[in-house]
């Protein structure tokens, strides 16, 4: 919402400075977004062309002698066709910044002739788009005076960012009312004398859709002359960015901004029959005033006559019945429209107008008729003509909302100690009508405040006018004890997972929750892909079912920038459906090239090997460990989801049902489908699949019994079938004596022709911890026999000879 200072002062009698007004506006909730004090126009002075000669070397240029009022004419080169001896215009001396061409002038030579300044067009001063010639002022304009001051262009323009709850401040009058209530002056009388019309309005109005049109007022003014609107009106409209069109149209725009009352004018000669307010019919079309054709339907409210639709109600008029310089009889419409319908129509048709802006927020119903009267006055003053009587249809009057207001509510909600009388005085100044006195009063809400429904709204009114800055911060006693844990298990695990992966040399990425639909399908498994109806870009159309597609793409982007060895992780949501429980908190990571834990790339001490499935497995287990999962109880199963290499991937399970995560090298087909290159491995851990830790009565750790006897290590090498998994073998060895065997490690895996077809050798190191006594050589022999037997029984392995 834009307005000028002088416009505001039409309604507000105030001594306040521009700065004070701006400060107050912001502090009462009408946030000032910009102030243009028009200082940019100050350097331009009124100057007279003493002579205009043809440029010696250019046909279209002229050499002017320009008097800027100091008796020292300067030479100026000018290309404007209207430059002539005697012209009075706006002159910019060297050193002046000319906003329309974004240039600071200097003395220059144009085709060999010096030019000491510039005679400006309106566009160069950003006054309008006019650029066919330089500004041509009346001959009596005072040479040497400030052009902006003389032309009344020095009126500061204020723009406020209006919140959607304040339709009353879509008008300069409403803003003045708020400022007056806040003590910045006195609101001037705003009542409007009705026009005594002659004869009935010749056009009748029928409302067929009363639910969309709660009132309609119309009047004809006959015998008007629709020329240009008065200069002052044009200047104000231009100052707020509107283009003057003709007097009738300008008046509607002026009243829209002055009083927040949108109007429409029809050329009566082009309206056939009476007006009908109804829902649009399927397939009905209207060529609107913006030159575009709109297709309408039953969701839109229209004003129609015997020709068909003439106007999209409350949004935009039609081209056909619009007013132009030939209009002699005008129909002025001032109506009420259902706000949500206007909002919907505007949105569906993609039309943003000053009328829609106001109607969708809710205009003052009680000003429908006065608005018509104000417009009639302005039309008659500027265009002449004879007004008919007004015709008002459908309007049943306004019943003010009443709010029960305990004045103590102000202190309850804000902490502000405002005396009851002061609260009621503020409300009265804003146009509310408190009835009675005492601790609780009934307050009638003015017709221009549809946003006010309850007592909290009244508290806001009192608070903003009394002054938010008068509220002293009050300590909120937070506790009388030391804080306990703040985070939930899930939050702690999320945090721990991030830190754990960070210390493994990985960088945390935050990638979009949306991925290309094709990628989402590749990673969705059996889950339905969640697709956006209105994505911002086609490659951001589906919710990620896994963190991997985003991370793989991110790794590739880095590779394309020259960083081939990257380790990225992310901890966040993956979406397996559209219900809250389908949103799974996941820790995922990818490593590319040689980005291993120990470092990446080439090194004088030995080059780092490419990443592989075991690197991903280590990351995955590190996350589980950090999250406090029972890592000693998990099983690693061969194979994983489709996107992994079937022989180089694994699934981490807890019991037969709970899948904690997966890891692996990516399937070559998947790399192809994602258009990326490897080596690339990745993992995912489903944080919310990790069981809650058991509640413990104490923090005491279990007793530690340290054996006084020396631990002993024994090595065994078994030849087994190639298919036998190492984990099976180590489990079998460990099971030989659960008490004595502390640990079983694998220190060598070897395949070779010497072992026979499809055979491999697995060498294990068994750590034996005697607990009760030192073991004898016979004890060790017996244990070793049990290990060999158990491994033989469970894996078919034989001790390698």
């Amino acid at each position: 919402m834009k307005f000028t200072l002088s416009w505001l002062k039409d309604h507000l009698d105030t001594q306040a400075t521009l700065d004070e007004i701006v400060e107050k506006l912001t502090m009462i909730g009408l946030e000032v977004e910009s102030v243009d004090d028009k200082s940019a126009l100050k350097p331009f002075v009124i100057a007279k062309v003493l002579s205009a000669e043809k440029h010696p070397d250019a046909d279209r240029l002229k050499v002017l002698s320009v008097d800027q009022g100091d008796g020292k004419p300067v030479q100026v080169i000018c290309g404007a066709p209207n430059a002539r001896t005697g012209l009075v215009g706006a002159f910019a001396a060297p050193g002046t910044y000319v906003p329309g061409i974004d240039t600071t002038l200097s003395v220059g030579k144009i085709r060999g002739v010096e030019s000491h300044g510039m005679m400006c067009s309106e566009r160069e001063l950003q006054l309008s788009d006019e650029h066919t010639g330089i500004i041509d002022l009346p001959e009596d304009a005072p040479v040497g005076a400030s052009f902006a001051e003389w032309a009344k262009l020095d009126d500061p323009v204020i723009e406020i960012g209006l919140t959607p709850n304040r339709p009353d401040c879509t008008s300069v009058y409403g803003i003045a009312r708020d400022l007056a209530a806040a003590g910045l002056g006195t609101l001037k009388e705003g009542a409007i004398e009705p026009v005594a019309g002659q004869d009935a309005c010749p056009v009748d109005v029928k409302i067929e859709a009363p639910e969309l049109c709660p009132g309609f007022a119309l009047r004809q003014v006959s015998g008007v002359k629709n020329g240009a609107s008065p200069k002052w009106m044009q200047q104000r409209l231009m100052a707020i960015g509107l283009r003057p069109i003709n007097a009738l149209v300008d008046i509607t725009n002026y009243v829209t901004f002055d009083r927040g009352r949108p109007l429409h004018v029809f050329d009566a000669a082009k309206v056939k029959g009476d007006l009908v307010i109804r829902r649009g019919k399927e397939g009905e079309k209207l060529l609107a005033l913006d030159g575009r054709e709109y297709e309408l339907g039953p969701d839109n409210c229209v004003i129609a006559d015997e020709n068909g639709v003439e106007s999209i109600a409350g949004v935009m008029g039609g081209e056909h019945s619009g007013c132009d310089e030939n209009t002699t009889d005008v129909l002025i419409e001032s109506a009420l429209w259902e706000p949500y319908n206007i909002a919907r129509t505007g949105r569906d048709l993609g039309i943003i107008t000053d009328a829609r802006y106001r109607f969708e927020r809710g205009v003052d119903p009680e000003f429908m008729v006065p608005g018509l009267e104000l417009a009639t006055h302005l039309v008659q003053e500027n265009c002449g003509g004879v007004a008919s009587e007004r015709r008002v249809v459908g309007y049943e009057g306004h019943t003010p909302k009443r709010v029960t207001f305990p004045t103590q509510e102000v202190e309850r909600l804000t902490g502000l100690d405002v005396p009851g009388e002061e609260s009621l005085s503020i409300l009265s100044r804003l146009g509310f009508e408190p009835q009675g006195s005492g601790e609780t009063v009934e307050v009638a809400v003015p017709s221009w405040r549809p946003d006010v429904d309850g007592k909290a709204d009244l508290v806001e009114e009192v608070m903003r006018i009394h002054g938010v800055n008068r509220i002293e911060p009050q300590v909120m006693v937070s506790k009388d004890t030391v804080s306990t844990r703040v985070l939930t298990t899930g939050q702690i695990r999320t945090r721990a997972a991030k830190r754990a992966l960070g210390v493994r040399g990985m960088m945390e990425a935050v990638t979009w929750s949306f991925v290309p639909e094709t990628h989402a399908k590749l990673f969705a498994g059996d889950h339905p892909v969640q697709i956006l109806a209105n994505p911002i870009a086609s490659d951001m159309s589906a919710m990620r079912p896994s963190l991997l597609p985003g991370l793989v793409a991110a790794a590739q982007r880095n590779a394309d920038r020259g960083f081939a060895d990257v380790a990225l992780f992310e901890v966040g949501a993956a979406y397996e459906g559209d219900r809250p429980e389908n949103q799974r908190q996941t820790a995922g990571g990818v490593r590319r090239g040689t980005a291993r834990l120990e470092g990446a790339g080439r090194n004088w001490s030995g080059n780092v090997a490419p990443v592989d499935v075991f690197v991903a497995k280590a990351d995955a287990l590190a996350v589980l460990e950090a999250c406090g999962a029972p890592v000693d109880k998990v099983q690693i199963e061969a194979g994983g989801p489709d996107w992994y290499h079937p022989g180089r991937s694994g699934t981490i399970k807890l019991g037969p049902k709970i899948v904690l995560g997966t890891f692996g090298e990516f399937h070559p087909r998947m790399l192809e489908a994602l258009d990326v290159s490897g080596p690339l491995c990745g993992f995912e851990i489903f944080i919310d699949a990790i069981p809650e830790p058991k509640a413990r009565a104490t923090r005491t750790k279990p007793r530690l019994d340290i054996s006084p006897f020396q631990a002993v290590k024994r090595d065994f090498a078994f030849v087994v079938d190639r298919e036998v998994e190492a984990a099976r073998l180590t489990r079998a060895a460990a099971a030989a004596d659960k008490k004595l065997i502390r640990d079983v490690g694998v220190f060598d895996v070897f395949e070779g022709a010497s072992l026979g077809e499809d055979k491999k050798s697995v060498a294990i190191e068994v750590t034996i911890q005697p607990v009760e006594k030192t073991l004898t050589e016979e004890d060790f022999e017996a244990l070793a026999d049990r290990i060999v037997q158990n491994v033989g029984k469970q894996t078919g392995g034989v001790l390698r000879g």
């Binding site: 502090m27 608070m463 911060p473 960070g502």
Partner: protein, 361 residues
């Protein structure tokens, strides 16, 4: 006796001449071994007269002792020399680079770090952290928060919608973290003190807007919480978060459907140095958050009586306050995963924000 002197000289010369421990051992054997020269001399003592033995005994034993001493001294020297030689051979170029420790190479994203900073501060103020789903229903995102159907305020949100399901119902991506207000009120009785960090979505994209961003919601509900308390909480938070001793904040009336009264908050700052914002000084105002008293209708939707319970809520951009504190110029880079950006703007994984150790190092 002369031959003893001669023998001693010969042996000591041989000891001195032994170049390594092996040669020295040969000398020892030739002198003190079973058939060594000194051993042979000792054997002769048995055949001597007592008088003769009285003289020769000490002489030969003295020779033996001196040779033993010389041997061990020489052995020690040879060992020292051998170690010195080994050390010289084992010398390496210690200026060769070593790989950085993984903990130094890894990085935590600024959003995670800032969320931890926020949790540290609000944890101290007695708040807990709540969360909610990104995919929401129209009810939780709008209706329950007092956005009437068709209200223009809904349009300010540029909502992402999903395709309608069989029942014609369409889910959406939450446009703010405020739905968690309702979910919390449904799940928990007052007093409520929560902050809600999370992802939010709006169809918007430029240097300061991305279709996905992060918000921090706060909610306090009890029987007394008012605007004055809210001012205190938010001022304390901002001071602690920006790590400045004092801060000027401007609360001004505004509008949000789910709060009444509503306010926006600006922080005084100095932006005269491009790319840097200094708080607690300067004469610029920067909008930082929106807040207000929870609207009675929202309390009702949460199952609470607005005449019994009251409270306040606020929302601010996590990415935005991260940018303000740490100086990232472009929001879009947050989500690009460029390792150069992560390395520069990210945090070391062991730098964990705490109040006792300072939020940032």
């Amino acid at each position: 006796m002369d031959d003893l002197d001669q023998l001693e000289k010969t042996i000591l010369d041989e000891i001195a001449g032994a170049g390594d421990e092996q040669a020295l051992e040969a000398v020892r054997v030739s002198a003190l071994g079973k058939k060594g020269t000194i051993s042979e001399k000792l054997k002769t003592l048995g055949g001597m007269s007592p008088e003769e033995r009285q003289v020769m005994g000490p002489a030969i034993n003295g020779l033996k002792n001196r040779v033993n001493e010389a041997l061990s001294s020489r052995r020690a020297d040879l060992r020292d020399a051998a170690i010195a030689q080994r050390l010289e051979q084992e010398k390496v170029d210690v200026t060769l680079p070593v790989p950085a420790s993984p903990a130094e190479r890894g990085r935590i994203h600024p959003i995670s770090q800032v969320v931890d900073e926020i949790a540290a501060i609000f944890g101290d103020l007695g708040f807990s952290i709540a969360e909610g789903p990104d995919i929401e229903t129209d009810y939780y995102n709008f209706t329950a928060l007092n956005f009437p159907e068709g209200h223009p305020a809904r349009e300010m949100h540029d909502t992402f919608f999903f395709r309608p399901d069989e029942k014609g119902e369409r889910k959406l991506l939450r446009t703010h973290t405020s739905p968690v207000q309702i979910r919390t009120m449904e799940a928990q009785k007052p007093p409520i003190r929560i902050v809600i960090p999370g992802k939010t979505y709006r169809a918007d994209s430029d240097a300061t807007h991305t279709p996905m961003f992060h918000q921090l919601e706060g909610l306090v509900i009890d029987k007394t919480a008012n605007v004055a308390n809210m001012k205190w909480v938010l001022t304390e938070f901002c001071k602690a978060y920006f790590e400045v001793p004092s801060l000027n904040m401007r609360f001004r009336p505004s509008f949000f459907p789910f709060t009444e009264p509503s306010l926006e908050v600006d922080i005084q700052c100095d932006r005269s140095n491009p790319g840097e914002v200094r708080f607690g000084e300067g004469d610029d105002w920067m909008e930082i958050l929106g807040c207000g008293m929870v609207h009675p209708n929202v309390l009702r939707h949460g199952g609470l009586d607005p005449d019994e319970y009251q409270g306040f809520a606020w929302g601010m951009g996590i990415d935005r306050i991260a940018m303000l504190k740490y100086g990232m110029p472009d929001l879009r880079a947050f989500f690009d995963a460029d390792v150069r950006w992560l390395d520069h703007y990210g945090f070391r994984p062991l730098d964990m924000p705490t109040l006792f150790g300072g939020l940032s190092s």
